[in-house]
Amino acid sequence: MADLHFLANPARFRRFSQRVLPGLGFATVLMLCACLYMAFFVAPADYQQGQTVRIMFLHVPSAWLSMMGYALLAGLGASLLVWRHPLAALMARAAAPVGASFAAVCLLTGSLWGRPMWGTYWVWDARLTSMLLLFFLYLGHIALSRAYDEPERGDRAAAILALIGVINLPIIKFSVDWWNTLHQPASVTRLDAPAIHNSILVPLLWMAVSLLFLFVFLVLLRTETEIDRRRLENAAAQEEGAPA
């Protein structure tokens, strides 16, 4: 918490991120290359699903990251509304499109995977639909935060939405348990041992870690841009000077 307070100041955050970003970017690229190699050339094809199983290495981590991203939005929303951290608003603005992209990737890879597996690109089952709703919530967040002339008001409205929308996360997570559907039940994130073979599980987890790095990198980078942009806008506004 103390760290968070420390970083809540945009100027300090900027100094921090400038120090961290180059290294983080480098590490992300390296890890992604290694993981993609592992996923596509090292991991074995599934005896049932064949080569299509490789879609999973993109599909599952992006599902996790998009859910995590929304939880992040909610957290940032709370810290904006309760503590008025100026950075939280900028970071939420930066994170929403990134999270939305991961949600879109999950939806796309899922439906591409669905074609060979279920014989259709799309079914209206609970898991798929609640995931689509998560994507919509992201869109609503983005639209709302840009729907005001004073960006601060858009930030606060979107923060309120993020806090309410977080209800959707457990619905996504447990949809496979609550409704019997086509979609795979949890096989990695279970309380008991994972139900996936290690030869697939290990690259999957590595892929998840490197995509997490990518997520963090993108959010930090975009936050920095947001800070600069807000500064420029404020400077421009001040320059217009005392109104006549």
């Binding site: 002339d149 217009e240 000077g241 109104p243 006549a244």
Partner: protein, 228 residues
């Protein structure tokens, strides 16, 4: 200041003594008679100040003159011709300022003026002058929704001045204006009158223009018809 009036379009008809003649005008609102058999005339270069208590019918009269409210009886004549005959031509001759400013919050001050002029079918020449007259230069690029009440009113007044219309119909033009803006409005109005324009303004304050005529609407006058 006068550069953006097309003086020619309402000048030069010197033989007609009265540009605007109102005869026997009557209006009712919500079943109540507001005024009846109202008659007056206005010549080029004249200003008529409409006064009267709240609810005496100033706004109603202005709207009836513009053709926004259909009067119960009476005619409005411009250079001798009933304006109801060619209402579009009549609309082309007048500029309107209502209780509401008639501005789009999402457009900037300058865009609002240009768009309003285009909607009148006019060409947006001489924008600078209109902005200058109401001290709007520094605000020209600001979205109207971020302006204060008085700044908005000034923009609406600039729209009227910019329109180059022969007749200005103004409903409480001084509302929300600070003293320097009131001064700016007065000079714009005087320039308009000097160029041969006409103006009718509903007001509770003194407009501060020398030689203005006054028409007081009110329960006693409105029934007998108020001569100017």
């Amino acid at each position: 200041m006068t550069a953006f009036f097309f003086a020619a379009c309402y000048h030069g008809a010197g033989m007609a003594p009265l540009f605007l003649e109102i005869e026997g005008l009557a209006c009712r609102r919500g079943g109540r008679r507001v005024f009846s058999s109202l008659s007056f005339g206005l010549a080029a270069g004249e200003l008529l100040a409409l006064t009267g208590r709240n609810g005496s019918g100033k706004t109603t009269l202005l709207r009836a003159l513009a053709g926004l409210v259909r009067p119960d009886a009476g005619t409005v004549r411009w250079q001798g011709a009933d304006v109801a005959r060619d209402i579009d031509a009549w609309h082309g001759r007048l500029a309107w300022l209502g209780h509401l400013d008639g501005l789009k919050g999402d457009l900037t001050v300058a865009e609002n003026l240009v768009v309003a002029q285009r909607l009148r079918g006019g060409r947006p020449d001489g924008l600078e002058g209109a902005l200058l007259a109401f001290d709007l230069g520094p605000l020209a690029a600001r979205q109207v929704r971020t302006l204060s009440a008085g700044q908005r009113r000034r923009t609406a007044l600039a729209r009227v001045a910019f329109s180059a219309a022969a007749l200005w119909l103004l409903d409480e033009p001084l509302n929300a204006l600070d003293t320097s803006a009131q001064q700016g409005f007065r000079s714009a109005l005087q320039a308009h009158l000097a160029a041969g324009g006409l103006a009718i303004a509903a007001t509770h304050a003194d407009l501060g223009v020398a030689g203005a005529r006054t028409l007081e609407l009110g329960s006693s006058l409105s029934h007998s018809g108020g001569g100017a």
